[in-house]
């Protein structure tokens, strides 16, 4: 047992220390960053100059807002359309059921990036280049397969008695979906939300290709370009990296219990 703890502590250090070094040094003066990179920021070395540079020069407020809009709108689309399709596949027997399910799940294995040439052509034709709508459409399409897959599995476990009781009471199929089934699959929806949110927030490829304009830049693309320009200003680079770390770590610590439970319950199936 002691050996197990030793290994786990060692690997935890490997996983966490690099992140800690970045955050720690972002609070230090330029001199202290280079003189004593491994020291904690203290009274002599504490300095927020990196953060003031970032907030003064980069349009991080607008990048952040763009990322937030894109991520939330995509999530809303994935969950609304994904749960509707999952309900139809789990609830009704019709001729094309299996085929539709297989068709929608193809996207789990085939990454959407491979269609980039066609997607750009489509967005140019629709005058959607450099709009957030282009990004939202792409992320909704790419998030749907996993959402449909997970939610269909969960919806199959809901008892038919409940739904049939609703039908006897005169509820329409839409009302059964919205009032009876959706509230019951809320935990599954939370899992899907967390899992689809992370890659959307972190994506670099589609912002770079579909929406590289200043007005539509997301935080990931904005940070990448900012860091590329300020590569010699270590304070600014470290501060920009830390600003990218804080929201993710904060969200993670809030949701980590659900997230880990989600993975474990999803994988057990």
């Amino acid at each position: 047992m002691l050996a197990a703890h030793a290994v786990l502590i060692a690997y935890t250090a490997v996983a966490v220390l690099p992140v800690l070094f970045i955050v720690m040094n972002s609070f230090k003066s330029r001199r202290a960053i280079f003189l004593a990179p491994l020291a904690l920021p203290g009274p002599g070395s504490f300095d927020l100059v990196g953060y003031t540079t970032v907030l003064k020069t980069g349009a991080f407020g607008s990048y952040f807002a763009n990322s937030l809009i894109v991520t939330l709108a995509s999530l809303a689309g994935i969950i609304a359309f994904g749960s509707m399709a999952a309900f139809a596949l789990a609830e009704y027997r019709f001729r094309l059921n299996t085929l539709t399910a297989l068709y929608l799940m193809l996207g789990i294995m085939i990454p959407i990036r491979l269609g980039t040439v066609g997607i750009l052509e489509l967005m140019v034709a629709g005058h959607l280049v450099n709009t957030l709508v282009a990004l939202i459409l792409v992320y909704v399409a790419s998030g749907l397969p996993v959402a449909v897959f997970v939610l269909t599995e969960f919806m199959r476990t809901i008892s038919d008695d409940l739904k049939n009781a609703g039908r006897v009471d005169g509820l329409s199929e839409y009302e059964i979906y919205f009032w009876l089934v959706l509230p019951l699959v809320r935990p599954a929806i939370a899992t899907v939300a967390v899992f689809t949110m992370i890659p959307i927030w972190n994506d670099l490829w589609f912002p770079l290709i579909l929406a590289p304009g200043e007005a539509t830049k997301t935080i990931t693309l904005g940070a990448q370009q900012f860091i590329g320009q300020y590569v010699t200003d270590w304070n600014a680079v470290l501060a920009a990296l830390s600003l990218g770390i804080f929201p993710v770590v904060g969200l993670y610590l809030i949701f980590s219990k659900n997230l880990i439970r989600g993975i474990t319950s999803g994988a057990v199936k």
């Binding site: 197990a4 703890h5 290994v7 786990l8 690997y11 935890t12 996983a15 690099p18 992140v19 070094f21 970045i22 960053i33 990179p37 491994l38 359309f81 994904g82 509707m84 399709a85 139809a88 609830e91 009704y92 027997r93 929608l104 193809l106 996207g107 085939i110 990454p111 990036r113 491979l114 269609g115 980039t116 040439v117 066609g118 997607i119 489509l122 790419s142 749907l144 397969p145 449909v148 039908r167 329409s172 199929e173 839409y174 972190n202 670099l204 990931t220 860091i227 470290l238 990218g244 770390i245 770590v249 993670y252 610590l253 980590s256 880990i260 993975i263 474990t264 319950s265 999803g266 994988a267």
Partner: protein
Amino acid sequence: MTRVPPRTRRNRTHIVVFLAPAVLIYTAVMIVPLFETLRLSLFTTSGNHFVWNGVANFGVLFFDERQSLGFWNALRNNVYFFVIQMLQNPIGIGLAALLALPRLRAGAFYRTAIFLPTLLSFVIVGFGWKLILSPLWGVAPSLLGAVGLKGLFAPYLGRESSALTTLGFISVWQYVGVPMMLAYAALISIPDEIIDAAEVDGVVGIAQFFRVKLPLIWPTIGMISILTFVGNFNAFDLVYVTQGALGAPNYSTDILGTLLYRTFFGYQLQLGDPNMGATVATMMFLIILAGVCVYLFAVQRKISRYQF
């Protein structure tokens, strides 16, 4: 499962209404562009028109004196990157085996901490490691010095011989949490009776892990491997962020994702070419498809026998 027979509900338009948004968006934004990309690889651009070109683009990609070098180099690098990346699976499964030990304390803390890097974007991971490994900054040399290995330090990301290997390890560092979590979930779901039976037979400790538990989680390992495969032949961000679109130094970290980006959009002196870009994307599609087929037909069928 009993369902209300269709006779009692003649009107079935609601099924179409439920399915339509998902099917339409998925088809229009994912499936049609994917096939359009595959189609464009068989055309070439002349003025403003696409002209049928047969498989000539593939000929250029495979055999043309200048372009084929880039393609074979990127493919070779990508395969190498995949091999290094696969190291995450034994490490992750090993960590999961420790975490799944009964009576282990603070398991949730370890899981949370080791999974953390997986959530960070490539921009943070790539630049963060670039700074840590930078010879200008003393972090990596001082750390190596602390364990008496200062002589081992070199500008790992700047040398042709070590840059790709280093990127592979950074990627392993970032993603080890995924196999760890999935293997952990599979390990704790092994029924207690099986473990008890093994213990009665005197199979305990490490032998129990290799002879009883590992065979039982093969399906999970197969799934993790195919996810790694797909992710690798589709990778782009980490190389683009740390080494730039050219896969510096001297194309030694160029992989198919960065090659696709340069071929499609052009970079510096190279002009963008949608048809050659589509050709590279088609090759990536075929490689991934081949991997998925191997998984579905061979691996999946073989391992399903072990499932409880």
